[in-house]
Amino acid sequence: MASTRQIQNRDNVVIKFVGDSGDGMQLSGTLFSDTAALAGNDIATFPDYPAEIRAPHNTVAGVSGYQVHIGVETRIIGDQCDVLVAMNPASLKANLKWVKMGGTILTDVDAYDEKALEKAGYTSNPLEDGSLSSYNVISPHITTMARETAMSLKMDMKSATRTKNMFCLGMIYYIFDFQLDTPFKLLDKRFAKKLDVAAVNKEVMKAGYIFAENLELIDSVYHVNTVELPKGRYRNITGNIATAWGLLAAAERSGHKLFLGSYPITPATDILIELAKHKSLDAKVFQAEDEIAGICSAIGASFAGALACTSTSGPGLSLKTEALGLAVMTELPLVVIDVQRGGPSTGLPTKSEQSDLNMALFGRNGEAPCIVIAASSPSDCFYQAYNAAKLAMENMTPCILLTDGYIGQGSELFRIPKVADLPAINPPVAKPNDPDYKPYRRDLETLVRQWAIPGTEGLRHRIGGLEKTDIFGEVSTDPINHAKMVQYRTEKVQRLANRIPKQEVYGDQEGDLLVVSWGGTKGQVSTAVKEARAQGINVSHTHFTNIMPLPANTQDILKKFKNILVCELNSGQFANYLRMTYPEFKYEKYNKIQGLPFTVSELVEAIKNQK
């Protein structure tokens, strides 16, 4: 009985659901995180799945997972989990290293037959050989009990066996002191068209809950403290969905309808899938025959007046580079989203990295500057996608938005904004029959040319990949003109530095050590800096969203610190970029290139090592 048990109050708890890729772990994870969010916890989630859709059953290669971090402040996915729900030996084997010493492991003893143990690579049964003695292991007959409950409700044996994840989830709800009314509602909603399935799932979940309540092995339950969030309407959102929605918001706000030309690629495909659902918002989504046609169709749409976008991941960006140069040359607005993954080549499709920065900055023939920005969290993807659209359209040039697999697929709480409250977007559209219109006449201050949309009276003109004369836009190989145009294109992007938000520093504004990060690592790095400061270390943090151009005050910030430590998930690309831009400072690097996010503890260690 709960009343006889100790209740542990906790600020943050990390729980990971792992199993075979068909075991329903993503469903368990989402139900659990939604329940926690509805109860007032802050949440962050991260799915972890193999590249193979159905890798061999019961093998380590086939393990799929879903990690949930709930509590009062969850800017990041916790490094290590308090509770691991492992549906079979293979998933236990693959994830044991992520469980905290003394943490709880809930696993299904029914899955530990000789064959499964052998497939997972165990020579003896870990539930019996004492190797898990540092953990609190709970290993009931989950499959048997779930199946019995479901079959008593006239479900067939195969489907009944599949409800084992609901039995586990019921136990977990008990362990975390949640009532079942919220998950029941969520199940009803999810299975709205199959209410009989919802009913069985609810019964099995309840059976798990009651089983846990009566199980003596469970000596304590956790109560996770809730958080005081700013008032407003909230939802859970993944980075990829947020990216898609940010683009839709920008299209609506700017009055330029959305066109997405894209080709499926992990982990960016969700953006294509999401936008394809929203034809009612006038989003035109074109699944092209390849990456090149994806970006080229977007360039065509941009010429025709669209908020034009293409979404991809590393290898796709490689294929798009020539066309990206065309967009730079023709000075057409274009949003390019790169959900980065491990490279080079096919690399680590389902893992995350920040290794496409060099390509985004420099990966084109000729001198072809693009605006480059990077999102820092799943919900920030909404604002940065919006921002990328605004920057591209207002400056008539491509903008590359770098996100990554980790924030693209991870989720967090998102405070829902009103579209009318987002900043206005005002592209320089040329007016019909403007006698002064010339294709390459520029605004003297911003150097931005006008957007003359086909179909507009009196503005017929030609653009293209060949160098053009200043103002008139005629084909030209004139040496002085070329030099001038190269300079204009560079300067146009550079001048933006004064119009983007100033770079900010967290912590002391000057001191011994400045930790620098960019993109999707913000959660881990800011938490690590906070922890280090709590330990009395003189360290500050600055996180970059604007990368090309860098904010105008970047140099002023860097010069106020004795040491600079650049942390990134590559071999030092941003550090090199800073070194190239501001060679007067010395940069130390902390890099990780394992397809995994930083852990807070290793960052704190790295900060300490700088002292």
């Binding site: 939604d34 969010a37 509805l38 007032g40 969520l186 909603k189 969030l229 700013p230 407003g232 309407r233 909230y234 939802r235 859970n236 839709l248 918001a249 609506e252 309808k257 066109f259 929203h278 034809k279 009612s280 918002l281 006038d282 035109k284 074109f286 092209a288 025959e289 390849d290 090149i292 046609a293 080229c296 169709s297 977007a298 360039i299 065509g300 749409a301 941009s302 010429f303 025709a304 007046g305 034009a308 140069g325 065309l326 023709t330 829902i416 904004p417 009103k418 579209v419 086909p454 179909g455 009276e457 009196g458 503005l459 003109h461 030609r462 653009i463 293209g464 990949g465 005629e474 084909v475």
Partner: protein
């Protein structure tokens, strides 16, 4: 929008309305000059507003085309005219989109895009200039260069089987395919008008002579002495008769085409095949597209023109349907859809 619903020009347009002020830099004698004249002639006849024409090209001699037309124009990168045109047309379907491309641009580097734009039946008009050589890079063989031809990059002759443009178009489920000769601008203009009227992807193969790097590529077809016997002008509903004396014709025998002479072996005019460009069955169209000298005349004019819903129309239908039925009518609706809660 379709040919019938496109906005028409209120003013009567002339050839001059589409002539650009740029100096035309094709070589003297190049077949492109005559094609340009034909296009300038046909645009006013099509009758759309002059602002609604859009000419898009890739890379190659033919791809300079947009600079020489006073329309909205886009000279893009090698092989990519078709996907760029796709984006223009899908986003703004009140534009009449024309692609100027070549045998290298659309059949080699842009081959993938070429078959897919046709398969999707996107409502654009492709003018494919086929001179069977890479002209702009000065004379390397292309995907349509005949096997064995000596070029700069095939000093011992090519060892590649060439593509037949029409075969590729029909294989990709093309709904409109026609062929013209550069030297015949009046006929070219007529065929292009048919292409403009066709809703869906139209491909007009323009046999074009590169005087510098592949002069005489179409010699058998164009030479005074041989041309009458080597050119078959197709007319809807009429027997396929050709020849200096208008006495040669095509019949179907043993599952293939055969050239016969009217008056010989008991053949009469009634035995000659009648051209039907609207036939849904591709069989005969494919045979016509594949005919080549010296054993057959080359088929000129519209080989195939069948109605089929365009991608643009289907996309628009889905958008209208979604707008009529979806609960999500603005982005605020979307942001607040699904599970949300107040704090």
């Amino acid at each position: 929008m379709s040919y019938n619903t496109m906005e028409r020009s209120k003013e009567v347009l002339k050839k001059e309305d589409f002539a650009s002020d740029q100096m035309v830099k094709w070589c003297p004698g190049c077949g492109n000059h005559a094609i340009l004249a034909a296009v300038e002639n046909v645009f006013p006849q099509i009758g759309y507003k002059k602002e609604n024409f859009c000419v898009i090209s890739g890379i190659g001699c033919s791809s300079r085309f947009p600079y020489y037309m006073n329309t909205y124009g886009f000279h893009s990168i090698h092989g990519r005219a078709n996907p760029i045109a796709t984006g223009v047309r899908l986003f703004k379907d009140d534009l009449s989109v024309w692609v100027a491309t070549g045998d290298g641009d659309s059949l080699a580097i842009g081959g993938n895009h070429f078959i897919h734009v046709i398969r999707r039946n996107i409502d654009i008009n492709i003018m494919l200039f086929n001179n069977k050589i890479y002209g702009l890079t000065k004379g390397q063989y292309s995907p349509t260069t005949p096997m064995g031809q000596v070029t700069k990059s095939s000093p011992q002759g090519t060892i590649e089987h060439p593509f037949t443009v029409g075969e590729l178009v029909l294989g990709a489920q093309g709904t409109f395919f026609a062929r013209v000769l550069d030297m015949n601008p009046q006929f070219t203009a007529q065929v292009m008008l048919e292409a403009a009227k066709h809703d869906g992807t139209s491909v007009v193969e323009m046999l074009q002579n590169c005087v510098i790097f592949n002069d005489g590529a179409h010699k058998l077809i164009t030479d005074k002495e041989t041309r009458d016997d080597m050119q078959l002008y197709l007319k809807q509903g009429e027997p396929m008769i050709f020849g200096k004396n208008k006495d040669k014709g095509l019949i179907l025998t043993d599952g293939g085409l055969k050239v016969v002479t009217i008056g010989e072996d008991g053949i009469t005019k009634e035995d000659i095949l009648v051209h039907d460009m609207y036939a849904r069955n591709r069989g005969l169209h494919l045979m016509l597209a594949k005919m080549k000298p010296p054993h057959f005349p080359i088929a000129l004019g519209v080989i195939r023109s069948v109605e089929s819903e365009t991608y643009d129309q289907l996309l628009d239908k889905q958008i209208q349907e979604a707008k009529a039925t979806s609960k999500i009518q603005c982005v605020d609706d979307l942001l607040n859809s699904g599970d949300t809660w107040e704090i």
